[in-house]
Symmetry: C2
Subunit: 337 residues, 2 copies
């Protein structure tokens, strides 16, 4: 690793100046003689000097690193956000560390500990639990730059970005009810996740508004993967009490449900109607196209960076809580019954 060992000292020696001068020339601060600066630049170029951010960080306290802790990077919702974070961070010369919590509170703990030891500048997290974990609380107490997205644990006071999960879900289910549906199933992932909990609350609220009794046999839990959702859907349709409509709480589960229905030979929308939370790439491919509740995914990443950079810059402003509206996109997967 020859080039790794090119240090500021080497450059300074080659340019015949002190390390301080070399540093000033390279980083462009303070007074440096034109000629000396030039010599330094040439020497640095020739030696292939790359600098060492670790040493810099040790002095300055932190690395140009932001951590992102999503539920699972495989979920298109999170990979879109990761992509946007990455893009935005380029402007700040910072890099993105990604460490999924796999919707597991234990793992989230580990992951956070790991990340904190790196002295990252800030953390953007989609917490696995809907309860305050000691870890997260500690971060807030310490005023660590932190932005929570997608879901906010009960009582956690920090900058956060969410969508209107409950009202959105309510609207979606209402829409099904207006089309005459009464036996509406919901396929959801772990209800310890705050966003899921809220979406389920919206589901129950819609039923309640219309005095439809809650039937727990129509509520099936899955993991947020296509294959788990396929299994969940098959389970749902293997029981006596079949639904006339399905509401899925995220796009991976919508895809799973769709795939399962196809295998089961259940026709959409004639035999079952469906609405999914979160739009997805192939929603307009099927015939009929799938009705969804879309969320403005592309707004989340850029806003998260804006918020965290403000905190990193030292903002003491009161906690910001941004909630985006969801939007029902009516396509053809819901039929009057």
């Amino acid at each position: 690793m020859s080039s790794k060992s090119v240090t500021l000292k080497d450059v300074a020696a080659a340019a015949n100046v002190s390390r301080a001068t070399a540093a000033r020339a390279l980083n462009g601060y303070g007074y440096v003689g034109k000629e000396a600066a030039e010599r330094v630049r040439v020497a640095a170029g020739k030696l292939g000097y790359r600098g060492n951010r670790i040493a810099q960080a040790l002095r300055q306290g932190e690395l140009p690193l932001i951590a992102f802790v999503p539920g699972d990077i495989l979920n298109p919702f999170f990979s879109q956000i990761a992509h946007d974070l990455e893009t935005e961070l380029r402007a700040y010369q910072s890099n993105l560390i990604i460490a999924s919590n796999q919707e597991d509170v234990e793992l989230e703990q580990q992951v956070l500990t790991n990340i904190l030891a790196l002295n990252v500048k800030g953390i953007i997290v989609a917490p696995a639990s809907n309860e305050k974990t000691p870890q997260l609380s500690k971060l807030i107490e310490d005023k660590y730059p932190l932005v929570v997205i997608d879901r906010v644990p009960e009582g956690l006071l920090c900058d956060n970005i969410t969508v209107n999960n409950q009202q959105g879900a309510e609207e979606a289910v209402e829409f099904l009810i207006e089309h005459g549906h009464r036996r509406i199933a919901v396929i959801h992932d772990d209800s310890r996740i705050a966003s899921t909990r809220d979406r389920l609350a919206g589901y129950r609220l819609a039923l309640k508004n219309r005095s439809i009794s809650f039937d727990e046999t129509l509520v099936v839990e899955s993991k947020s993967t296509i294959s788990h959702a396929i299994d969940a859907t098959i389970r749902l349709f293997h029981q006596e009490n079949k639904p006339t409509a399905i509401f899925t709480t995220d796009s991976l589960m919508t895809k799973g449900a769709l795939l399962a229905l196809r295998t089961l030979g259940v026709k959409i929308p004639h035999e079952v109607s469906i609405i999914g939370f979160d739009d997805f790439d192939m929603a307009t491919f099927s015939d009929p196209q799938i009705t969804v509740l879309s969320q403005p995914v592309d707004k989340i990443g850029p806003l998260a960076i804006k918020m965290i950079m403000e905190r990193i810059a030292g903002s003491q402003a009161p906690v910001k809580s941004i909630q985006f509206p969801t939007q029902l996109i009516v396509r053809g997967s819901v039929l009057n019954i």
Copy 2:
């Protein structure tokens, strides 16, 4: 940031020992008195000592960080790999930095420079260019732990993992030809990407084998996103010379083509047959299901970690080049003509 300032010195003071002893107790090496060790551990716990990997790294030369430079994390192919890398790295207490090159050589340069300054332990990259870039060559010269995946620039001698792009593409196109197709379109992304170049070579080879002349009006370039592929497909079908079959060189473009064909009202497989490179989540949803050439995506991440960890451990073994076979999964999107 109170807790951030808990340093080894603080712990040592609280435990009434020297920093050296505290370090020994905490990291479990060298001789430490049982009782002293206990005092240190208690103090560390009480103060919430987290350690500082930056300082550690400065001494030891590197951070427990591996960088992944994919084409674009939005592509499911890469997000699957990212997910697997992350999972594997947990066993090594290392974190993953993700910085996409967006299939842009310039950007890749920047990104690599950025990452190298962090003294990461190793880099896993899907190079944007099919030519050796000076950056990458330099890394190899310096024996920097490096694993190239998905595509190998011409003449780059380093550990790499690919799939049999050319032969796979050839097989797919042969399959179309066997079904009587002669006007076979290909929708591909930037041919400067080595894997794309090889897939195109396979396409041309298949035509040549069967003495079908190459028709450049059937070759359309897109970017690897759904929306660009939609446009490309529409362009393709707006010209005189329409294809009877389409071969797409990655899954995002397959999805785009599918969506476009639906909009255009072109029926699969009766009006056009299609085969896509890389399997995808909704391939079995449509009727007919989509025939694809699948690659063993889930093998790539774990193997890449294995390879890079060997290099990090200092292996001087000769360069390894692993090529996985692709597999034609025949479903229903190709019809005899």
